[in-house]
Symmetry: C2
Subunit: 278 residues, 2 copies
DNA sequence: TAGTTTTCACCTAGGTGACAACGT
DNA sequence: ACGTTGTCACCTAGGTGAAAACTA
C-alpha cells in the first residue's frame, strides 16, 4: 500500500464533494459493462417526501437488477484496463434486506466497522496490470435527519452540518495485480467509520444523522511517467444503491437493531432465538 | 500468492534434502553481503558429542555476530536484484535465549505456530522489482533424539526417521515489490509446523524428536520468459543459526517451557509471576 | 516406558449492542 | 428532548501449555 501517491486520485476526492446522484450531471447510466444503475429514485424519496415510513417498499427501487452499478462520466474514453471491469456485490440479499428497512451504520469516536461488510467479486481486469481498490462515501443529500420513534420514521431535521473531511479508504492489499484481485472476494472489513473530525487513524469521517452512499473505485495504476494526465481514464467507479445508509451513534430503528443482531456473528450475545428464524 | 509456479524454486526444494551445514560442500561463507555464517560448530556439538548438558555454552557459538547468515553457492554469480539484499533477524536476543537452552518447537496434527515467530527486516532490495519470500526447514543432521529427564540433556536415540515431504512456506504477501517488503518487518506468523505426513493444509511437515534449521529465501521474480534458466542466480538464502530447534510433540526441557510461558503472550494464563522478572 | 493425541481452561485480540451517564 | 460517550457483558476467532487418555 501507499506505493503510489494520491495524484491519480485527486479526481476522486474532488468529486466526492458533490452529490453524484443529483447535482453532478455527468454521472449516469454507463457504457461498457452490464450496468444496473438506477435513476435517483431511492434517495429522491428521502429528499422529496421527507417523511418516510419503515414499511414502505422504497428499498425495492434501490436494489438494482444486475451485478453492479457502473457510473462513469459519459464523455471520457476509459482506458481498456478499466473499461471491461465489472463488479458484483456480495451479500446482496442481506444488503437489500437492510436497505428495505433503511440501513443504519454506527459511527464511534474510535471507529466502527460497517455491517454488512462491503465486499465484491471482480471480473474483467487485466490479470497482469496493477490496480488499487478504494472506497469513499458521498452525502446522498444536503439534509440532516432525525428519527421519529412514535411512528418509526425518519424526518428531515434541517440542512446538513458542515461536510466532514472527504477521506478515501484504500484496500490494504492495494496496489496488486488484477489476477490477485479477481482470485477471491475483495472485502473491505478493515474500513471503519467515525464521527471524530480530528481522527488520525485514517478512518472515514461521517456526520451522524446524515445519509451516505458508499462508492467503490477501481484504479488502474498506470506505469507511464505522466500518468496524472490519464487519471480520468484510469479509474472506474461502482455504486450500489442498496448499500446507502444513515450514519448514527446509536441505532434508531429497532428493526435494524434486530436484523443486525440476527445477522452479525459478533452480536450473537444478544440473540434470544435461533438465527435460522430469519 | 501462487501467481508464479514453483519452477524457479525447484532448486530450493531439491537442496532441502541435504544437510547444508555438513554434507553439502557448496554451502559456506558467502560473497557479497555482510555474512555472519558460522562454521558448523553449533550442530556439530550435537552430532559429535551426542550428549549435551543444558548449561553448556554451546548456544554462544550459534548466535552469529552480524545481521544475518547469507549462504550461497560460491560459484554462482547472483543477479544484482538479490546480491545486495541483506536481512536482519528480529527478536534476536529472544532467539538466542531460547537457543542457549536448546529451542524446542511443538508440532501437532493440526499445525502449530512457531514461537518465537520468525521475522526479519530486509534491506537492499530493488524497490520496483518483484520478490517472493519463503521459508523451508532442513534437517540439521541424520539423527533422532530423546531427552534424558534425569540429567536434563538430549541424547542421540538412533538414525533419523524417513525424511518428511520437503515443503516450502511462501510468505502470503508473495509476490510483492521490494519497496513493500522493506517497508516493515516481514513476519512468518502464519507458518505452522505439523507432524502429520498426510497434512493437506500446506503446513511444514517435520519429524518429532529431530533437529531442524529454518532457512529464509529471497527470490527475485524474473520477468523474463526463460526465467527458469536463471533460477540459481535469482535467489539468495539466509540462515540464522540461533533459530535452529528440535521438533517435539510435548516440551521436554522444563526451562524451555518456562521461557515460552514467560515470553509468549498467548501463554499468559500459565504465568505465576510478573513477566518483567525475566 | 516413551511418545502422541485430544481436550480444556485460560489467554490475546477485537467486534457487538445495551445501558447509564453525560452533554447541549 | 435529543443526541453522544464510555463502559460492559458477551460474543468470534484462534493461540497457549497442562493434563488425561491413548498407542505402541
Amino acid at each position: 500500500m501507499s506505493v503510489f501517491t494520491a495524484t491519480s486520485l485527486s479526481i476522486l476526492t474532488s468529486s466526492a464533494e458533490g452529490y453524484p446522484m443529483s447535482s453532478s450531471p455527468d454521472w449516469g447510466s454507463s457504457v461498457g459493462t452490464p450496468c444496473s444503475f438506477v435513476q435517483p429514485q431511492g434517495y429522491g424519496q428521502y429528499g422529496a417526501s421527507a417523511l418516510l415510513s419503515d414499511s414502505e417498499e422504497r428499498g425495492l427501487s434501490c436494489s438494482g437488477g444486475g451485478s453492479g452499478g457502473s457510473c462513469v462520466p459519459r464523455d471520457v474514453q476509459k482506458n481498456v484496463r478499466v473499461s471491461g471491469v465489472s463488479v458484483q456485490l456480495e451479500m446482496k440479499t442481506l444488503w437489500e434486506e437492510f436497505n428495505r428497512l433503511g440501513t443504519e451504520m454506527i459511527v464511534t469516536k474510535a471507529g466502527r466497522r460497517m455491517f454488512p461488510t462491503f465486499q465484491v467479486k471482480i471480473f474483467g481486469m487485466d490479470p497482469l496490470a496493477d490496480y488499487a481498490l478504494l472506497m469513499d462515501f458521498v452525502p446522498l443529500d444536503d439534509k440532516r435527519y432525525r428519527y421519529a420513534f412514535h411512528n418509526s420514521s425518519w424526518l428531515v431535521a434541517g440542512k446538513a452540518d458542515p461536510a466532514t473531511p472527504g477521506r478515501v479508504h484504500f484496500h490494504p492489499d492495494s496496489p496488486a495485480r488484477g489476477a490477485q484481485w479477481m482470485r477471491q472476494i475483495v472485502s473491505f472489513d478493515k474500513l471503519k467509520l467515525t464521527n471524530n473530525l480530528l481522527d488520525d487513524n485514517g478512518h472515514i469521517i461521517l456526520n451522524s444523522m446524515h445519509r451516505y452512499q458508499p462508492r467503490f473505485h477501481v484504479v488502474f495504476v498506470d506505469p507511464r511517467k505522466d500518468s496524472e494526465r490519464y487519471a480520468e481514464q484510469n479509474f472506474k467507479t461502482f455504486i450500489f444503491q442498496e448499500t446507502q445508509f444513515t450514519a448514527v451513534t446509536a441505532y434508531q430503528n429497532h428493526r435494524i437493531t434486530q436484523l443486525k443482531i440476527a445477522s452479525n456473528p459478533f452480536a450473537k450475545g444478544f440473540r434470544d432465538c435461533d438465527p435460522e428464524d430469519w
